[in-house]
C-alpha cells in the first residue's frame, strides 16, 4: 500500500547538510580551478572498494568554506548498474536517468541538432566510451588541481578499478564576479532552498540576498525525498531493506519496506557548451552597423552594439537587468535580482520577451495573473553549478582565422529533482520554444540552435517591433550526460552493495 502523505516529522526534519555533497550547497566559487574526470568502471569490486575510501574525502555541504581541494562524485545509470546496484533499485530511477541524455526525442527537445547533435559531440554520445562515474575536483590553484588529479588517479587506478574514458574537462573562473565568456555576469538568478541553513551561494553570491518571493523553492525541488513545491516528497530511487538499505531512511513513497537511496541527493545535468565569442561580437557589431547605415537617425535598439547585446541577454554585462535598467547599465545595481516583468515590462519594451534571461526565468510574466505565473515558474527552476572553461578572450581579433582561436565556453552543471519538469522543461518550453510568450518562430538568441540560414530575434519597440535576422549558433554542445549525485550515506551504501 502506498502512503500518500509524507510523515510530518520527516517533512519538518532540518536539512542535514553533513549528509549532502558540497555541490548542493555551493558552486565552489572561491576555488578558481575545476576538473571534471569522466570515468569508466573496469572492475566493479575494485570500484566499490575505491568508493568506500573516497567517500571519506568527499566534501560535504556542512563543511565550512575552505581553500583545500574539494571533490564530489556522481554516477550515470549505467555506472550504478556496473557498480552492482540491484535491478529492483535501478528500476526506481527516473526514465531520463535510465535512458541518458541522448535519445532521439531528448535531442529534439533539448535542441541538440545540427552542430550540437550528439553525432558531433566530443564525449557522452553512444559512439563514445560509456561514462560511469564523474569526479568533480575543485582547487585554488592549477598546481593543486594537477596534484589532486594525480592523487585521484593513483587511488581509482590503483587496482585498475576505474579508468578515465575521456579527456578531463577543465573549468576555470574568469574573474571574481562570475563573468562568462560573452562578457556578462552569470549565475545571478538562482533558486534558494527554503530552510537552507545559510544562503545558498551561486558562483559569486550578490551582496544583498535576493528576496524570497522571486527565488525561494521547497527543498524537494533540488533534494530527493523532500517536500517539493507540491508539498509531497520528491520521489527518488529506493532500495530493499535486506540489501543493507536499512542504513538509509525509509522511503515515504512507493511500496512499503523500501529505503531512500536518494536521501540528501539530487540529479545532476552536465553539458559542455562551446561559446563562439568572436562570432557573437562580430555578429553584434555587424548587425548594429548595418542598422545604423539603413536609418542613421532612428532610435533603434539594434543600432547600438552594447544595447543590442544587452537586449539579446536581457541584462547588461554588469548584470543590471534591462527590466530595471532599460537605457544604461547604471540605472540599476550590478547583478540586481529583485524584479518582475509583469508590472513594468509586460510588453517587453525594456527586456524583449525572447531575451535569454527572460526565457530562462520568466518570473511573473508568463500569464495574465502575476502570482499564478510566478508560482508556476517556480515549479521549473534549476540550481546552476557550472563555470566557464577555456582561456578568456581578451580582444576582438581583427581578422579571426579558423583554427587559431582556442575553444572556450561554459560547463553547464545544474541540480534538480525532476529532469523532465525542471531542466528539460526550461530547455524545451522556455529556451528552445519557437513560440515562447506568443512569439512567432524564434528560439533563444544567445543559446538556441538556430535554423539553417540563421535565426531571428524580435525586440519589442515603439512604434513597432524591431527584428534582427541571420543569427548563427553562438553556442554548440560538445558533450553531456545525466548523473545521480548521491548523499554521503548513499555513497556508503553504494560502496557496500553485494552482487
Amino acid at each position: 500500500m502506498r502512503r500518500d502523505r509524507p510523515r510530518r516529522e520527516e517533512q519538518a526534519a532540518p536539512l542535514d547538510t553533513s549528509d549532502m555533497q558540497g555541490l548542493v550547497g555551493r558552486a565552489y566559487g572561491h576555488l578558481s580551478y575545476a576538473r571534471y574526470l569522466l570515468l569508466g568502471i573496469a572492475d566493479p569490486a575494485g570500484a566499490r572498494r575505491w568508493l568506500g575510501h573516497v567517500v571519506e574525502d568527499v566534501n560535504t555541504a556542512a563543511q565550512p568554506r575552505q581553500d583545500e581541494v574539494c571533490i564530489n562524485v556522481a554516477f550515470t545509470w549505467a555506472g550504478l548498474a556496473r557498480l552492482g546496484l540491484a535491478a529492483d533499485a535501478l528500476a526506481t530511477f527516473p526514465r531520463p536517468l535510465q535512458e541518458g541524455m541522448v535519445t532521439e526525442h531528448r535531442s529534439r527537445i533539448l535542441g541538440d541538432s545540427g552542430a550540437s547533435a550528439p553525432s558531433n559531440w566530443r564525449w557522452g554520445a553512444p559512439h563514445h566510451p560509456e561514462i560511469h562515474v564523474m569526479l568533480l575536483v575543485f582547487a585554488d590553484t592549477e598546481e593543486e588541481l594537477a596534484a589532486a588529479h594525480e592523487k585521484c588517479r593513483s587511488e581509482f587506478g590503483a587496482e585498475e578499478a576505474l579508468v578515465e574514458v575521456s579527456e578531463p574537462i577543465d573549468g576555470r573562473l574568469l574573474d571574481d564576479v562570475g563573468t562568462e565568456h560573452f562578457g556578462f555576469m552569470d549565475g545571478i538568478s538562482q533558486p534558494v532552498i527554503r530552510g537552507w541553513p545559510r544562503t545558498t551561494s551561486s558562483v559569486h553570491p550578490p551582496a544583498a540576498p535576493p528576496p524570497a518571493k522571486w527565488t525561494e523553492v521547497n527543498p524537494g525541488e533540488v533534494l530527493l525525498g523532500r517536500a517539493d513545491n507540491f508539498d509531497k516528497p520528491s520521489e527518488g530511487p529506493t532500495v530493499a531493506a535486506g540489501s543493507g538499505g536499512s542504513a538509509l531512511p525509509p522511503a515515504d513513497w512507493g511500496p512499503r519496506g523500501r529505503h531512500h537511496l536518494g536521501h540528501s541527493g539530487s540529479f545532476l545535468v552536465f553539458r559542455q557548451l562551446a561559446q563562439d565569442v568572436s562570432g557573437f561580437r562580430r555578429w553584434v557589431a555587424e548587425t548594429a552597423a548595418s542598422a545604423r547605415a539603413a536609418a542613421p537617425s532612428a532610435a533603434d535598439p539594434s543600432a547600438d552594439r552594447s544595447l543590442l547585446a544587452a537586449k539579446i541577454v536581457g541584462r547588461w554585462p554588469n548584470g543590471a537587468p534591462l527590466a530595471l535598467a532599460p537605457g544604461s547599465d547604471g540605472e540599476a545595481p550590478a547583478g540586481a535580482n529583485d524584479f518582475g516583468y509583469h508590472e513594468m515590462d509586460q510588453e517587453g519594451l525594456r527586456c524583449p520577451l525572447g531575451a535569454h534571461v527572460r526565457r530562462a526565468n520568466p518570473r511573473d510574466s508568463s500569464l495574465a495573473h502575476p502570482d499564478v505565473a510566478l508560482s508556476s515558474t517556480k515549479n521549473h527552476r534549476i540550481l546552476r553549478r557550472g563555470r566557464p572553461y577555456g582561456p578568456p578572450m581578451v580582444d576582438i581579433p581583427a581578422q579571426p582565422e579558423e583554427g587559431e582561436d582556442p575553444e572556450r565556453g561554459l560547463i553547464f552543471v545544474c541540480l534538480n529533482a525532476d529532469f523532465e519538469r525542471q531542466f528539460e522543461f526550461v530547455q524545451n518550453t522556455w529556451l528552445n520554444n519557437p513560440f515562447f510568450a506568443g512569439l512567432y518562430d524564434e528560439v533563444d538568441p544567445l543559446t538556441g540552435t538556430q535554423p539553417a540560414g540563421g535565426g531571428r530575434f524580435t525586440m519589442q519597440a515603439e512604434p513597432v517591433r524591431r527584428v534582427v535576422k541571420g543569427i548563427p549558433d553562438f553556442v554548440t554542445v560538445k558533450g553531456g550526460g545525466y548523473f545521480f549525485l548521491p548523499g554521503i550515506r548513499a555513497l556508503r551504501y553504494l560502496a557496500g552493495v553485494e552482487t
Binding site: A295, A298, Y440, V464
Partner: protein, 418 residues
C-alpha cells in the same frame, strides 16, 4: 459559424487488428497526403486522429476524432462522398460495417457510431479553418511589409498613427485581402445569448429541484468521502517503455496530441457524478471560455471528454501547443480543480478530497497517472502545424482592429501585436 467536435467509435474484429494496424500505419506515415485517407484535402478539418485501443476490459476499438467547421451530418456526407475508399479500408476491419460500399449505408453506419462529447473546448471559437489560414497569411504579409519598409529605413521614427495608416494602406492595396472587411465575429451575439440562456435555465432547474437534489447530494457526499479514502491510487511512474513510445511521436510541430482512455470507477456514485460534472463544465466552457483560454490555459486548440462503452470508459482527446510537460504543467498550475472533478471518477486517479480538492494539484503523481493512461494514436493530423493558439488569437485581433477606429492607447497595443 460553429465548430463540431465528435468521435466515431467502432469495435474492431479481433482477427482484423493486424490488418487495421497496417492501414493505420500507412495513413499515419503521411496524414496530409497519403493515398488511403488524405486528411489534408479537406478544408473544414482542423485536427483529426485515429486511435486503435487495445486494453483490458475493452474490446479492440477504433476511435476516429473529428474537429470540423460543419455539422456532423454535413461532415459525414463529405467524408463518404470524397473518401469512400479510405473509409472502406479502415472500417472493413470493424464489426457491422456494410460491405459493398453503398454510400447511404456507410453514412448510416458512421452516424450510428458517432459519440458526442460530454464536454469540449474550442480555442479558436467561431473561426473556420479558412479564416485561421487567411488571418495567418495576412499577418505574414504585414510582417513582410514591415520588413521591407524597415530595410529601407522607413517607419522606425514615424508616429504610431502613421505606421498604422501605412499598414492599412498596404492591406487595402492588395485585392487578395478584400475579405478582411467582412469576416464575422468570433461568436455571434445570438450564439452567445443562446449559451447564456441555456446556462441560466440549468441554474433555475437546479434551484427548482433543490428539495430533491440536496438530500441526495448529502448522501452522495458521505459515500464519496468514504470512497475517496479507500479508492486505489496511482502507484509509481508509468512503464518507461510505454512513455518512450509515446514521447518518440511528440514535439515535431507546434502542437502535440494527447489521447487517453480510462476505465470509470465502478458503481452508481461515479456513474452519476461523471456526466453531471461534464455537463456543468460544458455549460461553463460555452459561457466563459470562448476567448481562447480554458481556465487560464492559453494553449488548447480542441479538446474534449466523452463517456463511451456504456459509461464504462472515459475518453479524452486534446490538440494543444507545446510539449506534454508544458501541457501537464498548465493542467496542474491552472486547471487542477476542473480536471480533478472529471478524472477523479476514473481508476487510480491521485487521492482527492470532496471531488475537487487535491487530485491534480499533486503534480508528480498526476503526471505519472496521465502518462500511464495515455494511449498512442496511430494517426494524427493538424491543419496548421506552425500555428499556436496565441498566434491564431493574435492574428485574429490584428484583423479585427485593422479598420476600426482606435484611440491612442489602442493604436499602441495594436501595433505591438504586429
Amino acid at each position: 459559424m460553429t465548430q463540431t467536435i465528435f468521435t466515431i467509435i467502432t469495435e474492431v474484429e479481433p482477427a482484423e487488428v493486424g490488418a487495421l494496424q497496417t492501414v493505420l500505419a500507412e495513413v499515419g506515415a503521411d496524414p496530409v497526403a497519403n493515398t488511403v485517407l488524405p486528411l489534408g484535402s479537406f478544408d473544414v478539418l482542423h485536427f483529426a486522429s485515429l486511435t486503435l485501443v487495445e486494453m483490458n476490459g475493452l474490446p479492440p476499438t477504433l476511435i476516429f476524432e473529428h474537429n470540423v467547421d460543419t455539422s456532423v451530418d454535413d461532415w459525414l456526407r463529405t467524408l463518404v462522398d470524397r473518401a469512400p475508399g479510405g473509409l472502406d479500408a479502415l472500417y472493413t476491419h470493424c464489426k457491422g460495417y456494410p460491405v459493398g460500399g453503398d454510400p447511404l449505408r456507410v453514412r448510416a453506419y458512421l452516424r450510428e457510431h458517432v459519440v458526442a462529447p460530454g464536454a469540449y473546448h474550442v480555442g479558436a471559437t467561431g473561426r473556420s479553418l479558412t479564416q485561421v489560414r487567411q488571418e495567418a497569411g495576412l499577418r505574414d504579409a504585414i510582417e513582410g511589409f514591415l520588413e521591407s519598409e524597415d530595410g529601407a529605413g522607413r517607419l522606425r521614427n514615424d508616429p504610431p498613427d502613421a505606421v498604422r495608416t501605412a499598414v492599412q494602406q498596404f492591406v487595402k492595396s492588395d485585392d487578395a485581402f478584400s475579405w478582411t472587411r467582412k469576416t464575422p465575429e468570433r461568436q455571434t451575439k445570438s450564439e452567445h445569448r443562446r449559451h447564456q440562456v441555456r446556462f441560466w435555465a440549468n441554474v433555475a432547474a437546479a434551484v427548482v429541484m433543490a428539495p430533491v437534489l440536496l438530500p441526495t447530494l448529502a448522501i452522495g457526499v458521505v459515500v464519496l468521502r468514504v470512497k475517496e479514502r479507500t479508492d486505489p491510487v496511482q502507484q509509481g511512474p508509468a512503464d518507461p517503455a510505454h512513455v518512450k513510445a509515446l514521447s518518440d511521436t511528440e514535439d515535431f510541430i507546434a502542437q502535440n496530441h494527447l489521447a487517453s482512455v480510462i476505465p470509470v470507477k465502478p458503481g452508481l456514485l461515479r456513474a452519476a457524478i461523471l456526466p453531471a460534472v461534464l455537463h456543468i463544465l460544458n455549460l461553463l466552457a460555452r459561457m466563459s471560455y470562448t476567448k481562447g483560454e480554458l481556465g487560464g490555459i492559453p494553449s488548447i486548440h480542441f479538446a474534449h471528454w466523452s463517456v463511451f462503452d456504456r459509461g464504462r470508459h472515459l475518453l479524452f482527446l486534446s490538440n494543444f501547443d507545446g510539449s506534454w510537460e508544458s501541457y501537464l504543467a498548465d493542467f496542474i498550475d491552472k486547471a487542477a480543480t476542473g480536471l480533478t472533478a472529471v478524472w477523479s471518477n476514473t481508476v487510480n486517479f491521485p487521492r482527492t478530497r470532496l471531488l475537487l480538492r487535491d487530485g491534480a494539484t499533486d503534480g508528480p503523481r498526476f503526471r505519472q497517472w496521465a502518462r500511464s493512461n495515455q494511449v498512442a494514436s496511430q494517426v494524427w493530423y493538424s491543419a496548421y502545424p506552425g500555428l499556436t493558439m496565441p498566434m491564431i488569437d493574435n492574428n485574429t485581433a490584428i484583423r479585427e482592429a485593422l479598420f476600426v477606429r482606435l484611440d491612442g492607447e489602442e493604436v499602441h497595443r495594436w501595433l505591438q501585436r504586429l
